[in-house]
Structure formats: structure tokens, C-alpha cells
Amino acid sequence: MTATSARKVAVIGSGPSGFYASEALLEAGAEVDLIERLPTPFGLVRFGVAPDHPKLKSVCQNFTQIAGHERFAFFGNVTLGRDVTVDELRGFYDAVVIASGSSTDRKLGVPGEDLRGSWSATEFVSWYNGHPDFRGRTFDLSCDAAVILGHGNVAIDVCRILSKSVDELRQTDICAHALEALAESRIRDVHLVGRRGPAQAKWTAKELREIGMLSEADVVLGESDLALGATCEAELADLRGVAAAQSFKILRTFEGRQRERAKAIHLHFNLSPRAIEGAGHVERAVFDRCSLSGGAFSQVAEPTGETVSLTAGAVFRSVGYKGVATDGVPFDGRSGTIPHQRGRVMDGAAPAPGLYVAGWIKRGPSGVIGVNRACSLETVESMLADFADRPSQAPGRAALRSSLAARGVRPVDFTSWSRIDAAEVAAGAALGKPREKFTSVDTMLATAFGGVETVSQPCCA
């Protein structure tokens, strides 16, 4: 493909799936414009990955390398639907890839879910990771015990952040405002509660092992918690159960541990949330004790009739994320995803021409960062097949630029983001941490456009 006939593609969302789609498109000779609502790139790597997992965040270096490609441009601070519409983009580009992720949380659907003191893990994670939309939230951590609902990696992240000492967290890129609030936390007991059994937990072995190695907290298991039925045994022996078997091995090492440290992480299985109760504020979470029924890999939790109550002043609901609809794009509200066939957006039975989808908004909110690479590769493969030998018809970048300019929108390009990046790293260095994130869009923009190298109190701006 020569430069003059390069396909022009817009990718919406600069998280992992957006960057991996961009990478594959650039390798195929396309010109790629990556559009992002915030002035900062990297999506959930910035706002989701836990601050005490710095190694995972090093994928940002790979993304930065992708962004350095001569046919790539970043358009940060551009909101879809307000600054430009999907229909306009479809006119400007040969193809549009929606990679907007799953930005909201799934509801539990039980009474008391919205009581004061009951939050989604999404809110809490976004807050301690400095997402501008969540900067104003407050979390009352003055109670003794917290319940975390869900047995996935996000639930474990929340559990770890609540169980680590502030001194341990101080050296991470956790936001200053969160560190201050966590320093005041009186939570000593964290209950990590799952609806199904130890063989069905969705966390990865590595995350589970980590909570067994904390300096200030012990993992505590109930006596018969790890008893498995024959169907669970069969799941763990199956190749599809490799990850669960690995995690089960680690759970076994937790058995019989005594509480010796100040804090405890209590693992609970087979408890399905029934209600969150309290007079104006969370006081307890009530569960149906369940047993599993059904065949291997499709077992469901059925109430046994017994109820269990856990006293807690805070509840974090970590039962999954959900995508939100984009104007002008088909959407399945039930699954919170965009209907597709191998990445081609489907409008009823027919593909929507020039419209593609990648990442969590395509296949739902599961899978670690790298899984999105395979997902984006599939999407790009479909797109390239659709392009066949048809030359590019689209005006591409120039059309987007002039449209944004006409609306008075000033996009943040990758060089401008580098200024934010450098200023955040400098602000962090002053505090002995890798980075102090800016949490207000105004500060980000002032830094991006003003060429300011450091900002004294970024979190208070």
C-alpha cells in the first residue's frame, strides 16, 4: 500500500484495545487517528491497573512507541457526540473502530444497593487512580469492617488497597487525595465474598497469592470453605480449569492460617447477596448461603435457605463492568456491548459499513490487558478483508482537524500529552513517588497547552 492510498481509520478510545488496533492498522499501512475524551491516553492502564502494580503499567511504554509512528495522531480532549459524531467520523474516514471499553458498573439488583456506604468498586478504583470524573467522590472508611462483593481481580485490588499500610502505598502512583483518605481508614476486617465456590473464582492465581503475602494482613478461611463437590473436582482437572486449579492450590496454602496481624482478609464462598441493610447507612450485608448445581463449567448458585449476615460499614460491589451506548452505533443494552461479527459492527443482520469494534465494548468486560491485543487483531483482520483492493476515498485527518477547529475544540496531541506526563512525573518525584497524577481536566489542559513543566499542587487544582 503506498502512502497516497493509505486507508484512513479513526479509533475511539485510547485504552489497550484502541492502541492494539492502532498498532495492527499502522503495520498494515493505514493512517490512524486515535480519539480520546480525556487529555490523557491509556484508559484503564492509567485508571484501572492498581497503583501497586507498576510492572503492568510498563505497557504504556509500548503504547508510547506505537504513538511515535509517523502515520499516527492522538486527538485527546475530544468528546464523541459533543465535539464530533460517529456519523461525521464515518464520513471523514474509511473506517471507524469503537474501542470505548466498559465505563460503568453492573448493578447487583438487591435492596439497599444505593445506601450511603455502598459503592461500586469502579467508583473507588477510579477515585484512587485519579480519574477526573471521580475526583470529587468521598469514601467514609471510618468503620471497622468492609465487604467486597465479587471474586475477580478488581475485588482483590480493592481488598489489597484497603489492607496495605499507607507507607506501602506512599511509594506508588496512588493519588495524594486517596492516600490522605486511606491514612484515616479504620478498616481492619475485609470480607471478600463470592456467590459461587473456590473453583469458580475469577481472580488470577498471581493476584490471589499476593493477598497472602501482605505485611499487615492475614488471609483467614472458614473451616469447610474449600470442600469441593465432584463437579468442581472435574472442573479443576479439566484443561479449561487450569487457572482455577492454580488458584485453588494457593487457597489450600491459606488453610489453617491464624490471624496474627492487625488486619484480616476473610474469604467467603457460596454467599449470594440478598440485601444491604442499615438505617440511612450501610450496617450489614445479608446473603443467601448457596450450593452449586448443574454440570461442569455451568454450575449455578442455588440458595440453601440459610441466610448469613456480615457486619460492615462499607460495601464495595465488584460484580463486573458494563459498556455504555454510543450515539449512532448499534448497542445491546442487556450485555452492555456492541453487537458484532469478528469485529464488524452488526446493525441487525447486516454489517454497518465502515464501523468496527474492539476490546471490552466488543466482547464484554473480561480478560487482562493482553487479551485485548488478540481481540483487536481479529477486528483489524476483518477490516482489512473488507477494504480489499478499494483505494481510500476518505479525507481523513485534515477533515477532522478542520471540523474540530470550526467548533472551537482544541485537541491534545501526543506531544502535548508528553508535557502532562513530564509534569506529573516531576510532581511525583518531589513526593518520592513515580508520578502524581493531575486529577482535573483544567490542570491537564493548562499543562498540555501552556508548556508548564511543573505544577505545585496538582491534586488541589
Partner: protein, 102 residues
């Protein structure tokens, strides 16, 4: 800590793992793949991607598998990065059956 490709990759080389690696840490020769421990970010995405369960966290290796730590490190440094899925070796299916993993 790192992840390593162990014995099961030999004669298979399915390469599904490389498509889910976020950081391009896989290297390969004609026979199998290796992980560069200096590049791997320990995300574990590759573990379930391998059809023959060849990839393990360093932490989960049995005593006689520990030799793979050094083999992966040494081989990876000399061999090219593998980023794209390639056809498995002709012996792959036979090997998978032999491992009892069909």
C-alpha cells in the same frame, strides 16, 4: 518473577500466546518459543492461551522444570521476537494427543 515456556511447547509451537502478549516478550526458534524475563510484565495472559499448558509462572514450576528459567532467559536474548500467530509445527496435533490434551 517471570513466566517461562516449559517442555510442552516443544514439537507444538502453537504461538497463540504471542497474540495476547501486551509487551512482545516472546522469542522463537524453529522448535519452540521462549519468554524474555526482562520484558515480561507477569500479566499471565499467555497461560490460558496455550493449548498445551506450556506456560507457567516461575512460582509454579516443579523442581525439574526450574531449568527452563535459565533456558528461556538465554535463548530469548539471541532469538527474534515473535509477535504474530504462525502455523503450528506439523507435529503439533500428534504431540498434543501424546500429552493427553485433546
Amino acid at each position: 518473577m517471570t513466566h517461562v515456556v516449559t517442555a510442552n511447547c516443544q514439537a507444538c509451537r502453537f504461538t497463540d500466546c504471542v497474540t495476547v502478549c501486551p509487551v512482545a516478550c516472546f522469542h522463537g526458534d524453529e522448535e519452540r518459543l521462549y519468554i524474555d524475563p526482562d520484558v515480561c510484565v507477569d500479566c499471565s495472559a499467555c497461560i490460558p492461551a496455550c493449548p498445551v499448558g506450556a506456560i507457567k509462572e516461575e512460582f509454579d514450576l516443579s523442581g525439574d522444570e526450574e531449568e527452563w528459567i535459565q533456558i528461556n532467559a538465554e535463548k530469548a536474548s539471541d532469538l527474534p521476537v515473535i509477535r504474530s500467530k504462525q502455523p503450528p509445527l506439523p507435529t503439533a496435533d500428534a504431540r498434543r494427543s501424546e500429552l493427553g490434551l485433546n
